[in-house]
């Protein structure tokens, strides 16, 4: 029995030590974060209250039990008492928990009411979950981008040392101002996801076809990280969330930069790149967006098709089909639509790269304006080619 007691004391003392010493949390991360919003702090308080209620009840129940285990044992010659009921005590231990629970229900209800009040938001952001990335649309600002994992496969497969933000780093974080009420409209494009940032105590399911609301108001600037919290298929563990909270001033600066960049990108639509520039940019884009499935060498895997010497990528008449599947995706397959994720210049580069790398040799070099025209008309340089891809026209 001593071992048993030791075990329990060990567990209990670990918990207590952790909870009583705030420094200890940071080191071991064994408790819920207090977070950086009023709601997250309220939730933390609720969590601690109910925890201590449980500890108190547990201590009482277990002390009585261990009292019996130590003193009312046969080996000590203890004779059993014959009682087997006591109406009064049974009423007490049914009624008392009711009172405790009722007391608990009041602050919980209050917090819940606050969480549900999405009125009077300063800023609306739409969050869309995709397998396996997030899309953020700033509804007032005409800003929209995708945010996906950037941790390299080398780190995941142990070929390179894992960084501090392993699996919690993205190409572009959601940037928001502090001190403003931000309303999130959460939905999904394929399966159910769940958008969760522990520091905001905000978790909302993203459900295809439906829109969910949530809100937050962040107190402190900083970078906050979270993850998808609903099993959404193969890479569920690889779709992190990163939120950068800035002061209002910095946020507005960021907005300006973002809008300038958008203008610059529009200029790119008129840009003519040389063949080398196209291939170089194309490889860069390919490695960031395509290589996860099609691999760096273009050969794909058992699930994802190879792009090397494939009809789609290596036949002249397939150029519009190729542009089409990269731009609009292939619904019903894992091939996503990149038309909204990448600007025309990047699309042109990556398609050019795929058509001229790894021994593919179409010598077709696509410019941003070709993509713009294609998006408007479905044609490549005014040729009606879409759907003609049979690999009939040989180079």
């Amino acid at each position: 029995m001593m071992k048993y007691l030791k075990m329990i004391t060990l567990i209990v003392s670990t918990v207590l030590m952790g909870l009583l010493n705030p420094m200890a949390f940071a080191a071991f991360e064994i408790n819920m974060p207090q977070g950086v919003t009023a709601i997250s702090q309220e939730i933390y308080q609720l969590h601690m209250i109910i925890f201590w209620v449980c500890v108190a009840v547990g201590l009482i129940v277990f002390s009585v039990m261990f009292w019996s285990i130590f003193f009312h044992r046969k080996s000590r010659g203890y004779k059993p008492a014959p009682f087997h009921e006591n109406t009064l005590i049974e009423i007490i231990w049914t009624g008392l928990p009711f009172l405790i629970l009722a007391a608990m229900a009041i602050p919980s209800t209050k917090t819940l009411l606050a969480i549900y009040n999405t009125d009077d938001a300063d800023l609306d952001i739409k969050i869309t979950g995709y397998q396996w990335k997030w899309r953020y649309d700033y509804l007032e600002e005409d800003i929209s981008f995708f945010s996906h994992l950037t941790t390299s496969p080398q780190e995941i497969y142990g070929l390179r040392e894992k960084g501090k933000n392993y699996l919690l780093e993205v190409n572009e974080p959601l940037v928001v101002p502090i001190g403003k009420k931000i309303r999130f409209l959460v939905t999904a494009a394929d399966v159910i996801h769940s958008w969760w940032v522990p520091d905001f105590a905000l978790k909302k399911d993203a459900i295809p076809g439906f829109i969910n609301e949530a809100w937050t108001r962040i107190d402190t600037p900083g970078v906050y990280r979270g993850q998808c919290a609903e099993l959404c298929g193969k890479d569920h563990g690889f779709m992190p969330i990163v939120v950068e909270a800035k002061t209002l001033e910095d946020y507005q600066k960021w907005l300006l930069v973002k809008q300038e960049k958008a203008q610059e990108l529009k200029k790119l639509n008129a840009l003519n790149r040389t063949e080398e520039e196209l291939m170089q940019k194309g490889e860069e884009v390919y490695r960031e967006h395509c290589a996860t499935c099609h691999e760096n060498n273009g050969k794909g895997s058992s699930i994802y098709p190879s792009l090397v010497k494939a009809t789609m990528t290596d036949q002249l008449d397939c150029i519009t089909d190729h542009m089409h599947s990269v731009t609009y995706g292939v619904p019903g397959t894992a091939m996503a639509a990149f038309g909204e994720q990448l600007n025309p210049a990047d699309l042109a580069a990556v398609i050019t790269y795929e058509r001229n790398a790894w021994g593919n040799n179409t010598k077709q070099f696509i410019q941003a304006k070709d993509i713009v025209l294609f998006k408007e008309t479905g044609k490549y340089q005014n040729q009606e080619l879409l759907g003609t891809c049979k690999g009939v026209i040989k180079k």
Binding site: T118, D119, D120, A121, D124, K126, T128, Y130, Q131, L139, L185, T187, A189, D190, I207, P208, G209, F210, I211, N212, E213, H324, T327, Y328, G329, P331, G332, A336, A337, G339, K375, T377, G378, L386, G387
Partner: protein, 201 residues
């Protein structure tokens, strides 16, 4: 002990009632589907609005010009479809009782005919019952030929009974590919077009 035949009868009764309960509960499982729909309709759960045109009498409509409601429009493509799909206006301010008209643009960039269906969702949930649509592209499936584009109209009246605290309503439409599902829908649509209830622009 009771006579054997009595036990046997009682056992048969237990067996039959057990089977009956389980068959009943199997049925109840399916019954939960309509129950849920009714429940959603009355509570606005999931922001699932009424999928029928709102038939209004002009005299029923009370315009509340003391307040202005912002309506936001969202368009989302489900992964099953790759059309261009967006509202022509991102938001609109309107007095409850006034008709708000706008449209969504849609284009099929594929070289095949397809049928899309927009699924509406309203946020906040408790606004759902106060958003009346007299005309909506979401009432019907939307067939589009290869490369065809279209402006799809939407007419809304916000009920003046809308709770005072709500100042902003989000109307979200998610577009799904229902080409495979669609057989009956097109026939219905043709009928409605004949009756002049759908206007292609």
């Amino acid at each position: 002990m009771r006579p054997l035949f009595q036990i046997k009868n009682a056992t048969t009764r237990s067996l039959l009632s057990g089977l009956l309960i389980s068959i009943g509960m199997f049925g109840f499982g399916f019954l939960l589907v309509p129950i849920y729909d009714i429940f959603c309709k009355y509570t606005g759960l999931n922001g699932k609005p009424d999928q029928n045109p709102y038939l209004y009498q002009a005299e029923d409509i009370i315009v509340d010009s003391s307040r202005e409601i912002t309506i936001q429009f969202l368009a989302t493509n489900n992964a099953s479809i790759n059309w261009d799909f967006k509202p022509t206006l991102h938001k609109l301010k309107v007095h409850p009782g006034h008709i708000a008209s706008l449209a969504f643009y849609v284009r099929n960039p594929n070289n095949k005919d397809m049928v899309g269906q927009a699924i509406p969702s309203v946020s906040p949930f408790d606004a759902t019952d106060f958003v009346h649509k007299t005309e909506c592209f979401c009432f019907l499936s939307q067939p589009l030929g290869a490369f065809q584009e279209k402006i799809m109209p939407l007419k809304i009246i916000i009920d003046s009974e809308l709770p005072k605290r709500i100042k902003k309503i989000t109307l979200s439409y998610t577009l799904f590919d229902i080409t495979d599902m669609e057989t009956k829908g097109t026939a219905v649509r043709a009928q409605l077009e004949k009756e002049g209830m759908i206007h292609d622009l």
